[in-house]
């Protein structure tokens, strides 16, 4: 296998987050009853006409700006023709030769083996991004298929990469980075299960060192980011096996079957489409001025990888923390707001990454997915909590308990600490008594410590913390124990 390499290009469809559809004012959202999000335009009724959704165009331009694409001065829409029951007009309004975005790249990270340090980064080149309309949804049952046109007309961008991806892992990293970018900027929710992000792949193999591309096969039905990786892995193996056995790869479209873990032929080149593109006479071209572009650019947030580098360099946050924090916009905004109140980046980031996320997932079930804003906690509240730790009012261990209590009750950290009497104890007299008891109770540890095993003191310390229910000031306990044992 090592003497062959794969060349992969992806076509990613992403639904934009808008309130209404691309070419008409019918609303669109996921999960509505069948055929309840339609109007005459959605159903392609005779006499209806499309009108461009400004928000969708602005979001597409923003995606282009985020990914370093060239935004042309003029862009237009074309009709792409093929018959399919989920497409009401039997043509899709798309963009052919003047898309909204050209070129550009997506920065990816190849995870390192240890996962504790940042992996290698590189850029995957894009060919273009264009804006079009989504189609309806087909459900197959027995001898018939049912058509729901709710999704028809939802704004959809198609992001096309150059054949610039060379392994299934890179494809995985590409989709992960793309999703993080788009989610962070609020362009799309990118939920593949809801069809908000869909991916087709073109893949070919060639002898290593060869410049010439092999015959490409188009892969469809890659329904998750892992599905893309698994489908590509299978298909690359299949092609290499075929070529090594002296066979020829035929240009065709294959479907990935995740259950059977294999791909099979959907259609061959002979059945290729003749799309008969021409400019949609019902839609006027748009002109994109420098002013419009720059105001859209200014509204964009920092990209997740740029933010991660900044957090690691400026705030000295560890890679593992930033890799959880940075793709999540809610978390980042919460973090920065708390940081503005109390300047302890590590303390705040740790509790967000280690405790808050698990609280969120505990509070969520099935369709009832909780957002950060659903929890009764504010950045100021979290800052107050971390400040209590930093001022040695409570210990780290108690802080976790208080945090959990804050989320359950909505009370502030100060109130909880007062009500529950959680202030750490710095009463030397009281602590000396408890320390003495614990020294008596742990003769083995005392013996080991005296014999030079430094870590043995932790067992005694643990006993003290337990006896004080975590309220003892750990630094003070350490000091008393060392004095008593010296």
């Amino acid at each position: 296998m090592s003497d062959y390499e794969a060349v992969i290009g992806l076509e990613v469809h992403v639904q934009l987050k808008t309130k209404s559809k691309m070419f008409t004012d019918a609303p669109y959202y996921y999960g509505a009853e069948p055929n309840t999000l339609t109007n005459p335009v959605v159903l392609g009724m005779p006499g209806t006409l499309p009108v461009l959704n400004k928000e969708a165009i602005e979001k597409t331009i923003q995606v282009g700006l985020m990914l370093g694409c060239k935004i042309p001065e003029v862009s237009k829409w074309d009709r792409k023709h093929y018959f399919y029951p989920d497409m009401p007009k039997n043509y899709q309004i798309s963009q052919y030769d003047q898309p909204l975005c050209e070129g550009g790249a997506v920065e990816i990270e190849m995870l390192s083996a240890s996962r504790n340090v940042m992996g290698d980064h590189r850029e995957i080149a894009l060919t273009r991004i264009h804006l079009e309309e989504d189609v309806g949804k087909l459900t197959h049952t027995g001898e018939m298929s049912l058509v729901d046109y709710n999704r028809a007309g939802a704004p959809l961008i198609e992001i096309v990469t150059e054949p610039d991806i060379f392994s299934p892992d890179e494809a995985f990293a590409f989709l992960t980075a793309l999703r993080n970018n788009l989610q962070f900027a609020g362009m799309s929710d990118c939920d593949m299960e809801k069809g908000q992000m869909r991916c087709d792949a073109n893949v070919s193999v060639r002898p290593k060192g060869s410049e010439k591309l092999g015959t490409k096969v188009e892969l469809k039905n890659l329904n998750s980011i892992s599905g893309v990786r698994n489908g590509l892995e299978y298909e690359i193996k299949r092609q290499i096996h075929e070529v090594k056995a002296g066979g020829i790869i035929t240009q065709e479209t294959r479907r990935w079957d995740a259950d059977q873990n294999m791909t099979y032929v959907m259609r061959t080149k002979e059945e290729a489409h003749d799309y008969r593109y021409f400019p949609c006479p019902d839609l006027m071209p748009i002109r994109i001025s420098e002013e419009w572009k720059s105001s859209l650019g200014e509204a964009l947030p920092e990209l997740p990888f740029d933010r991660q580098r900044r957090y690691m360099e400026d705030l000295k946050l560890p890679y593992t923390v930033t890799s959880v924090l940075c793709p999540n916009r809610d978390l980042c905004e919460f973090f920065e707001a708390a940081l503005a109140v109390h300047n302890n980046a590590k303390g705040i980031a740790n509790i967000l990454v280690n405790n808050l996320l698990s609280e969120l997932s505990e509070a969520s079930f099935g369709d009832d997915q909780k957002q950060l804003s659903d929890l009764p906690i504010t950045p100021e509240g979290l800052a107050e909590l971390i400040k209590l730790v930093d001022d040695a009012v409570i210990s780290n261990q108690i802080a976790k308990e208080v945090f959990s209590e804050m989320i359950q009750t909505g009370k502030t950290a100060g109130v909880i600490v007062d009500e529950k009497g959680l202030k750490q104890s710095s009463d030397t007299g009281e602590l000396e008594g408890i320390c003495a008891d614990m020294i008596d109770a742990n003769p083995k540890a005392v013996e080991q410590f005296k014999a030079g095993q430094e870590k043995a003191i932790n067992a005694i310390k643990g006993g003290v913390m337990k006896a004080t229910q975590g309220k003892a000031n750990p630094k003070l306990v350490d000091k008393i124990l060392r004095e008593m044992l010296s």
Partner: protein, 487 residues
Amino acid sequence: MEIYKTASQLRSALESGEVSSEEWVKQLIQRIESLDGEINSHLGLDKESALGQAKAADQRRANGESLGALDGIPISLKNNMAIKGQKLTCGSHILENFESPYDATVVEKLKAAGAVIFGRLNMDEFAMGSSNETSYFGTTRNPWNLERTPGGSSGGSAAAVAAGFCPVSLGSDTGGSIRQPASFCGVYGLKPTYGRISRYGLVAFASSLDQIGPLAREVDDLADVLTAVSGLDPKDSSSYPETVTGGSSELNGEVKPVIGVPKEFFEYPMDEEVLSSVKAAIAYYEKQGCEVREISLPNSHLSVSAYYVIATAEASSNLARFDGIRYTHRSKDAKDLMEVYFKSRGEGFGEEVKRRIILGTFALSSGYHDAYYLKAQKVRTLIREDFSKNFEDGVDLILTPTAPTTAFKIDESIQDPLTMYLNDIFTIPANLAGLPGLSVPCGASSENLPIGFQLIAPHFKEMSLLQAAKLYENGNEAHLVRPPLGN
């Protein structure tokens, strides 16, 4: 009581109390029932709805809340404009059972102006034809001579106005479909500037060429209807922001436009009687003190080719939605999805529509797109520029015949599509250039068949067209002659 009234005559009668809108609509229904059996200009008429709207208009008038020039005036529509709750067949079998769940913008505007939405008028199937012979529901006959076609594709709209079934109708014009039948039936027919009237709710034939317009028996009526239905529509991206204002009150015919007569148009073969009538009209304008100039539109001989490539290409796309899935006829014999498409469309479309779908699909198909579709679009630019040059040189209006012949016999040329297409030579250029055009009745042939001439103006200069037509109307009587229908 005189039933053969124009809209402005009817308005005076309504204002004076001579007649109510409801009585009038009843009379028209009777006239249609007694005379339209042979003419076949109607595909449908919702009597109850029309009478209800007329009654409401009478009520408003009684309350002193009249909505203006069109309040209580019945207006019939070519059946390719959507009226909520009514059939929208476009003269096609494939849409035979389709009932529109929405109103076209023109219908909304007419309703807002108080007009009574009246008959649904016959047409060539999907507006593809020049004779009304391609209608699935039978050809319409010319009120002047029942052996003749009324022209097309708005043949029903022209015949209904000529026969006095309604004072005004709306038609649509893609390559002459308002002007040519207007000329064949002896009425006025206006194709406004592309974008002047919203196309939302007009079933598309060729989207970059289609335009709705009024047909009437006097110039004033065209102005009032145009004023009511024009203007920006947020549902139609190609609609133009400015509304026509003023209506008939601004028309007096006191103008002296510079009239250009394109020499190429008079080199095409045409009936002697058409030629002499049009020449007489030119002479009339000269006599009124207008400057008449010979001009050149050197690319006009390419217009039929450019038009039929573009129009059929767009049509092949627009008609793809009629597929037997969501709202059209589905073949009973279809056993699988492919057969639903092939058989429903094969059964549902008539010959001319199929011919044009094939032609348009070919013009866009891989390998031929550039040589046909793209080339035609470039030639379209040349044709557009020909007009612009003349208007820039000081020509106000261009005068031509509307059609090379008078109304031809039914079955005469339907079997020869190319000959049929070439008959559109005088009207097509205005569509390609997006310009407003108007056919003005200017007499009849020795066989008593009407003749019309065409005026073309720069973009958005409909009022110039109407003023010039008014100037002609003031000194001529062609528009007053009625077809021999016995009453």
